[in-house]
Amino acid sequence: MAEDFKEDVLEKNIIKTSALTKIYKVGEVEVPALREVDLNINEGEFVAIMGASGSGKSTLMNLLGCLDKPTSGDYFLDEYNTSKLTPNEYAAIRNQKIGFVFQGFNLLPRTTALENVELPLMYDRTHRIKNPIEKAIQSLERVGLGDRMHHVPNQLSGGQMQRVAIARALVNEPSIILADEPTGNLDSRTSVEVFSVFQELNEEGITIILVTHERDFAMFAKRIVELKDGRIIKDAMIKNRLNAKEELKKIKEEIETQEHGVN
């Protein structure tokens, strides 16, 4: 009994969708992008959503991120039924419950890393966080960019830019972090570095939803949800999960042996 209770607390549903459907209208033709998807995600999970292009994974991502509204079905985020919210409440949900990490980084140009990270706090009308600048600095330090705070995006490498974006996603202490192809623009070593940041954050208890089409990167998650034609065709825990730190070590060793080989 006691154990069951404990399980209950640990496995708190943070995302619950029921019959979530999205239909796009292209002229007269109706194109269903998502068909009655039921998906539950618990707090502390690291879920990779996979699928070919056109499978509906981006649509699902947009709906989970409250960037778009479903045609039908319900989506509960924390205790909110998002289909009943006004546009302003929608904005507040995006601001407080969700942290986005995009493929193209989407940082404001000519704006320092610190100011970029601070941005979500400026739109927070609840002012939960008392000292925005300090919080933004903490957030940057957490992704290992404490020494790059005053650099503008074009002075940063791709990996660094994505880490700034992660810091920005973290700064408002969201319920979930949504990462849409976060390493799509990065080389494989930098990608692994970024995933090591994600894994670290997940170990600290942050729920992460990753959208990717690369199985190699999906293996860093704990659970894979695979979509096809707008439906979930596979939902399984990952057995032989990869550890990004170890992978990074391997890559370094490989480089070293190559260099030794040259010498």
């Binding site: 995006r94 000519r110 400026m122 739109y123 920005r168």
Partner: protein, 405 residues
């Protein structure tokens, strides 16, 4: 977002493309400067008119033929010219609140004498005229009432005429021929400067009224009667008295309207001020149009800016900005742009007014109200023309905005 942050972002994006912002603001700068300068010129002109009328001699009362504007069927100003020398004589005999009366008989033409010839106006007046207008003599003397009655062919030259016909020698005692009638010059008037309507009071010849009437104007009627009241305070009583005398002289019965108009300097000033007020409004409106054109420039550039920054808008929306946050952001930018233009425009107008006042004869008088008005107008234009682009920005769909390349 805090006001501080909104302003910070607004200034940042304005300063990001300095040249473009400057050119956009230039529309407002020119518009505001044009409004302020045009209205200042109008006000300056009005003040000049007022000053000149005040300098005419405040006791002056002018009776012109034609009915006054009050009610009834108008026969048109000056349409029924009935002033005679008897009217003037009757005023001279009966009025007690006046210290001078003179008919004004207008004529003009080519004047020959001295070093050449000159075209000017000739005014036939009485011996009182100099005092009525409070003009001064530079040399010589004025004619007497006896000269008038005797139709003496004597005249006085305005300073401008004297300068042109007798640049080197003293004109007094010499002869000029006015439309082939020889007149003896007995005096020269002191320089007085321009009148409110731009003609010169110095480009003039004065001669006895009856002489001008019979020899030059061909027996036409007197165009006006000029009277001076004893003191400025006596003007209302003098006007009353003149009206009674004129009605008697013209044998107007009860119920018949006056066939003349009596005006003092206050009336004239009012009419002149009215004219320059209309001028001010007209100039200001034309300049206002340029301000509106400047506003359209702002709208144009804000629309470009919204398109360019679609991705930024998407980012802001995705991290929790409300549509209203985006609206206010872009509206603030438009207003900052137009108000900055407003400030620079006011500064520019001060510069132009300084140049006008110091290097031209055109007076420009910048009133504080017009600065606030132009400034407020610039701000209003920022809001009005900034609203559409800002609204367009705020209604972007976050997904499309994020994907925008």
């Amino acid at each position: 977002m805090h006001v501080k942050n909104i302003l910070k972002v607004a200034f940042k994006s304005i300063l990001k493309s300095r040249m473009r912002s400057l050119l956009t603001a230039l529309g407002i700068i020119i518009g505001v400067a044009a409004v302020v300068v045009m209205v200042a010129i109008g006000d300056g002109a009005q003040q000049q008119v007022e000053n000149q009328i005040a300098s005419l001699g405040s006791n002056l009362i002018v009776i012109t033929p034609g009915i006054s504007m009050s009610g009834g069927v108008s026969r048109g100003m000056g349409s029924f010219n009935r002033f005679t020398f008897d009217d003037v004589q009757k005023i001279k005999d009966e009025a007690i609140y006046i210290n001078g009366v003179s008919p004004l008989v207008r004529s003009g033409g080519q004047i020959i004498g001295g070093v050449g010839n000159w075209f000017t106006q000739v005014q036939g007046v009485s011996a009182d005229y100099l005092n009525i207008r409070s003009w001064k003599l530079a040399s010589g003397e004025f004619f007497t009432e006896r000269d008038v009655m005797a139709r003496q062919k004597v005249c006085l030259l305005g300073s401008e005429v004297a300068k042109n016909l007798f640049p080197n020698d003293d004109p007094i005692g010499q002869q000029v021929r006015i439309r082939n009638v020889p007149f003896k010059i007995i005096g020269v008037l002191k320089e007085k400067g321009q009148t409110s309507v731009g003609t010169s009071n110095d480009d003039i010849i004065l001669a006895p009224s009856r002489t001008v009437h019979e020899r030059l104007s061909g027996g036409r009627f007197i165009s006006s009667i000029q009277v001076s009241a004893l003191t400025p305070a006596q003007i209302p009583r003098a006007k009353e008295e003149l009206r009674r005398i004129m009605r008697e002289a013209h044998k107007l019965g009860q119920g018949e309207e006056d066939d003349f108009t009596i005006q003092d300097q206050a009336d004239l000033a009012e009419a002149a001020t009215e004219t320059s007020k209309i001028l001010t409004i007209l100039l200001g409106s034309v300049a206002g149009v340029s301000l509106i054109v400047g506003g359209i420039g702002i709208m144009n550039i804000m629309l470009v800016s919204v398109t360019e920054r679609t991705r930024e808008i998407g980012i802001r929306l995705s991290i929790g900005a409300r549509a209203s946050d985006i609206l206010i952001q872009f509206l603030t930018e438009a207003v900052v742009l137009s108000l900055t233009g407003g400030i620079l425009g006011v500064l520019l107008s001060f510069g132009v007014a300084y140049l006008l006042n110091n290097y031209t004869s055109q007076a420009a008088n910048i009133k504080p109200q017009i600065i606030f008005l132009a400034f407020g107008f610039a701000g209003a234009i920022g809001i009005f023309f900034g609203f559409y682009p800002a609204r367009k920005a705020s209604q972007l769909n976050p997904i499309d905005a994020l994907r925008y390349e």
